[in-house]
Subunit: 462 residues, 2 copies
């Protein structure tokens, strides 16, 4: 396995150029204008899996975007790793904040990445991290180092809720049989502090619409006399948190697991500088639920954030209008035991119940998913830990993440296997933001580490 | 003067077609993309004033859009009427709610307008109402019925705060000398209930910007741990009204005139059906400041309304982002004695003071103007009242309007003359809204009534 380092050295430019080609396709699943590009990306993934050594690759149609499935079965008696990733990306707006166009990848050096980082939408989330697995497979197949069976399942709807993946998994349990699921769609604490994500938050994402008068009105003639949907919406949203930033939706916290003091003390040991955190975001203070630290607020506690709001006149200059409608997109990050469908119902019932007379309110659930906690004493976790030790020279730290990969809980339910989250991204990668990037070092380090996971995982079955 | 009826009958189609041509030019002063069209409209107004009989017409340049000035001085010893109007219009969005394109005028019959109404942005506010004065002048000059001097001052920035008109008036007091200012930019109670507007509200219009982290963030990784500018903005806006819908800005009500019970009882006599009002807007309840009626809320009481709000992801589908910035446009309607600049300062100081740690807040004043109350015992008011009697057969009702024409208070201050607000629009004209229209009957009735005002006004000086 020592040849992996030299293989990467010899093929580095090609590995980068192949990823860059993939990043050029704007596979934005949330915007139907990009349908052709999303489909084109699926085709590109299929070809890349074939080239990397899969024996059988197919594009599995769904009611939405297809799932690319590939496999290389070397021996039915050996264990099987199922790699999951996604080829769709978040919308890139606001475009004017990008330093280079989001779908024209460039490699630029940064303070954190003196070896350069690839700037493009999807560079880290998830094309870059997913493609590490394709290149790791290429290394293993072409150097006779693949120790077990491998299956790939790469979807195109992760950024819009994986609705069709859930159906696909339920309908293809046999095909997807595996001993461990491997995902790189998370981050690590720092380049010199490897970590494995052991918890993910669940998600409930809704859109709300407040309708007042049946048309936009002149604010001089009607102002003060009819309910203004924007004012009402701000009042309704503001009421969702109390003065301690607790969420006020009745029942919201009922199933939230309260960690013991010992567990919280353990968490608090992770290296973290509040000053550096504030400085990196240019903020003078953090903000959040009373009684919890920053790292607790974004991992073990549920949250409610407005992701978008709009209504009325938003152009240049002034327009004295009372809008007929106002809208917001709101998402709740959930912790293990909170059921996303139950929380969505609680939100809907509460939000509709607080609408004042004079307006009507609609709550449209978008999508969601369950939270997840993975044990650190599993075969898979131990193999991952040893893989990091082999390439980083350090034992990785288990950490809970605030993000959500809704499908992970479903995998466990449908496929009865544990998921290992080996992320190589960094918090500073600006995923979902302008100037998303992925360090060249991180990309290559991922390719280097993955084959070690296969080795240690297979070894543990011997 | 009896010939005015037959003159209108003979020229009705031309009067309509000339207005339609004017309405085709999208003179949106708030949007710099329409600069050429705004300037083109000024040229069209100049030509129309020349054709209507002005001896001298000029386009007066300002730092913004020009003011069209025209005059016909028949005898320096006779009184002078100064007509004010504006040729700019509000932005037409949301475009998808228009039944026909806003700048392709059509005449359509409605229940209220069996004679038809002209549907177009600016049909009523103010191209249609302003053009009535041009056509009334045409009648008077071509039929030897002009009894006094007339000056026209038609501006192109009313919808964006008349900043340059104020400077123009201050610099041209001599040129603008007059005995009364006549404006048609308001409405009347109903087609069979003529009214004269005797009060206008003032206006303070501001834009606010809340900045949190220095870039858009992933709501999973940062949600709950940093101040979300949109959540903060909703909280700040919500706090601007208390549970009785009183405005909470310290000092906001200090100078508000409290009407006596007798005055309120007098106001309550104006014909008004709350059921019809609610039905016309499709709302199940009105909403507003505790302790006041609907007609009081939108005339004698100050208000605060959000006119636009935006931030984060507002496209199709879902994006789990915490925006770096959130924005709102907020306007306050003010009553006489509230000084708009003082109120703007109060707002700015208060809004900045309530920003929580973790965000920075900017308040950018857009524009504003003072409220105005006109006496009903002036020479001008009496002449207007008699003019309505001559054409409607009824004494008009004095009424306070909730709208603002910020320049009116300034006219009185700079030019020492009273303004008479002879409006021929209706509340249902949807000004500032999609499907703005102006009844053909109202348009022609305005042209018919205006010459009577000139007659009675001049008579009162004999």
């Amino acid at each position: 396995m020592q040849s992996i380092k030299s293989y990467i050295q010899d093929n580095k430019d090609r590995f980068l150029n192949e990823l860059i080609d993939l990043l050029k396709i704007p596979s934005i699943s949330a915007d139907s204008a990009y349908k052709g590009d999303v489909l084109k990306t699926a085709d590109a993934i299929k070809i890349s899996l074939e080239k990397a050594g899969c024996d059988h690759v197919e594009i599995c149609e769904t009611e939405g975007y297809p799932i690319v499935y590939g496999e290389k079965i070397i021996d039915k008696n050996l264990p099987t790793v199922l790699v999951y990733g996604h080829y769709d990306v978040q919308p890139p707006d606001p475009l004017d904040l990008w330093n280079s166009p989001p779908f024209e990848p460039v490699i630029q050096k940064t303070d954190l990445h003196p070896e350069g980082a690839i700037f493009a939408r999807g560079a880290c989330d998830d094309k870059g991290q997913m493609y590490m697995h394709v290149k790791a497979l290429e290394y293993m197949t072409s150097n006779n180092e693949l120790p077990c069976n491998v299956k790939f399942m790469i979807e195109g709807e992760e950024e819009v809720g994986s609705v069709n993946l859930a159906k696909f998994v339920a309908a293809n349990r046999e095909k997807l049989t595996n001993d461990v699921i491997l995902i790189s769609d998370t981050g690590m604490i720092a380049k010199d502090v490897p970590s494995i994500t052991t918890g993910l938050r669940g998600l409930s994402y809704v859109e709300v619409e407040v309708t007042g008068p049946n048309r936009d009105l002149h604010s001089g003639l009607y102002g003060g006399a009819v309910a203004n949907p924007i004012n009402v919406l701000t009042k309704m949203i503001a009421s969702l948190h109390d003065e301690n930033n607790h969420i006020t939706i009745p029942g919201f916290y009922d199933k939230v697991e309260n960690l013991s003091d010992a567990e919280r003390a353990e968490m608090a040991k992770a290296p973290f500088s509040l000053d550096a955190y504030k400085k990196s975001l240019d903020i003078n203070a953090v903000y959040g639920e009373e009684g919890y630290s920053t790292n607790e607020r974004n991992s073990i506690r549920p949250t409610l954030d407005v992701n978008g709001i709009w209504g009325g006149y938003t152009g240049e200059g002034a327009k004295t209008v009372i809008a007929s409608k106002a809208y917001a997109k709101i998402s709740m990050r959930l912790v293990p035991n909170q059921d996303w469908e139950e929380i969505t119902d609680l939100f809907k019932n509460h939000f509709e119940s607080i609408a004042p007379n004079g307006v009507t309110v609609k709550v449209i659930p978008h999508h969601g998913g369950q939270g997840y906690v993975t044990p650190i004493d599993s075969v898979g976790y131990r193999a991952a830990s040893k893989a990091y030790e082999a390439t980083f020279g350090k034992t990785p730290i288990p950490q809970r993440s605030g993000g959500s990969i809704p499908i992970v809980a479903l995998f466990e339910k449908e496929l009865k296997s544990k998921t290992i989250l080996m992320g190589f991204g960094l918090d500073s990668d600006a995923i979902h933001s302008p100037n998303e990037h992925f360090g060249v070092w991180n990309y290559l380090k991922g390719i280097e580490t993955i084959p070690w996971f296969y080795k240690y995982f297979t070894d543990s079955f011997k």
